[in-house]
Symmetry: C4
């Protein structure tokens, strides 16, 4: 596959990722150079944040093209070190159009102190997920041990899904949140809702209730 | 009743709701697409947020007209799923000009952990409510179980008021705060004061006092 | 004393109060219409916030002139209900040029749960107060019960100072913080430092240390 | 050494410090006039914040030149009272290009309640430090008692490093955080990462985990 010029669609996707970066950094969800965001451009390519960029200061130049093996399609640019976690989701779910990884205090602390998974229940905001139309349900968020080997980590995620069924999001211990959806806008709403519920979970633990 | 063109008054009301959306989202009180706001336009009609819109990015196009049965008067637009909770208050209180629903962490967590009602007392900010001119009082905020059936939920609210008397606000468990006043500005001040006092209540529980 | 036209000095003072209002509201220290700010214009007059205005939306029109008996010198405008707490300080301390009252969660919760006074010690930020050049000191912040009678409350403050000596600030239970200094800028720095130390005190109580 | 005109490089460094001041004040990390920032201009000179300035309102006029003995090279301007803590680091580490001191609630409270040092471990964000490429490590942050004598305090820091080896940052009790790096941008990223991890440590203590 030869490198491609950014399409109009790519430009719109890149702009959406830039705006999310500014918003999420202002909320404290992507400190320093943490976090990474991607959007599907077509069946085999994604727009993704360049490795090591500050999400609060993203410009379109900090977004690049990659294929679903995680190879750079933008000469001279290296994609996020965690690109394989993104591409694994795009491969697994052809309908997924956006994958977002944030690195908030709530997701960091909860993923370090809870074991195995976090169960969210009773929240009206659970309705943000497709297919959920009532608060009278629960959503399980698995927690994976952190790992610098992305192939091994993405295999663990795939294995978990194969065994337990589809999920909306997962946590990596001491590292943060991954969520995905049909497009970047919806994935962004899920980040807002998940970070809110994680902060509520922290507050509940702190009030002893 | 035939659909109507937005009046000048409607435009001012819509603009007031748009501005509250931006302010409240920046405070974290209406995450993702949560929250909904309305303002009375005349005896039988209200301006209300369109269903599913992001309150931090509201434009006048995200506000619509509805009647007091919750029917859309803006062709092609569907009002908030919780419109009946708004119209129930406009019907009950002819003097009410604005109804605001926020979805903060404090209101979510407190409504999940307290039972029956929350009692606010001793706060100077209680003077924000009409008819209260001293901190030496208490204000009871009933908490209703969450319900996806708005007719049933609004009936519960009406029944509670019929039995216990007028209130300034109520909570829905895991879902947030409703408050109302003679106009949108005053309702907005009540939201600020209530969210402040709810956060103080959370802090008091966390400090064990 | 006849009403006076705002002087150039008054305009600069009013502008300084407007800017503090915007900054402090953004920090959550003056929710709804709470808080009030003043600056000395000359020996017998102060600029002070008009009663009931939203501090996050202050304009110069929300600032007015008053004498040291708390009488309005701006026709048609009524000064803050707590003006007498301001004028008592200007009368007591001729060198005071600015008095600021904020209404934060930290000051509200601590003033409700601590008794008699709060002792701040060991903080580098204590050096913000004139005459303090080391962290190896302590600053006592008395806490007065809230009172809607401003004459009675300001008498209590004066009596306390007469008995215990000069102070830099005081708290009113469930109501907030008063601090004052030679000018509005310095008083504003004291608000920043005090709110910081009060939030630290809350954090220390919450961590059980 | 005679006073020098600011060079082009100096201007860029000064601008970088001004921008950090605005960002860090907005995050609550440099309340009132606390905090001070510096950048190396050449082997013997640094750009540093003028004593007593408000970091949220910094302009290039609030930055000045000093030599590595802490002497002012900008006529009429006095450098931060803590300049010697900066110059000690520039002397010790010739490769250091930026030193940043913040004064957050998390660093204040943790430095008052922990003893000797703070150990950060398991955080993905530890990878922000040069030479660290995995979360499976730990970083020790020594805590020094606060001291108004900067010569004595900087000697303590140097002695500690001589005994225990290189560090990335240290805390002063009740006073805040110092960190440094090859340039101001990298030092700023370390501040973001460290403040994040310190806040996580506070949250963990508050949740009893």
């Amino acid at each position: 596959m030869t490198p491609v010029d950014p399409s109009t669609d790519y430009s719109a996707q890149a702009q959406a990722l830039v705006e999310l970066g500014h918003e999420f950094h202002a909320r404290g969800w992507v400190p320093a150079t943490s976090g990474n965001f991607s959007a599907r451009v077509d069946a085999g390519r994604i727009a993704i944040t360049v490795s090591g960029r500050h999400k609060g200061k993203l410009t379109p130049d900090d977004i690049m093209l990659a294929d679903l093996d995680g190879n750079s399609l933008s000469p001279g640019k290296r994609p996020s070190a965690e690109t394989l976690l993104h591409t694994a989701l795009y491969r697994l779910y052809p309908e997924v159009g956006g994958v977002l990884h944030t690195h908030s205090q709530a997701s960091t602390v909860l993923s370090q102190t809870a074991a195995g998974w976090l169960m969210l229940q009773g929240y009206e905001l659970l309705k943000i997920f497709e297919g959920i139309d009532t608060h009278e349900t629960h959503v399980r968020i698995p927690i994976f041990p952190n790992d610098q080997d992305m192939t091994r980590l993405s295999t663990k995620v795939n294995d978990w899904i194969a065994e337990h069924g589809a999920i909306h999001a997962y946590l990596i211990a001491g590292h943060g949140l991954y969520t995905w959806a049909r497009d970047v806008r919806q994935a962004g709403l899920q980040v807002e809702a998940l970070e809110f519920m994680l902060e509520c979970e922290l507050l509940r633990r702190r009030t002893g209730s």
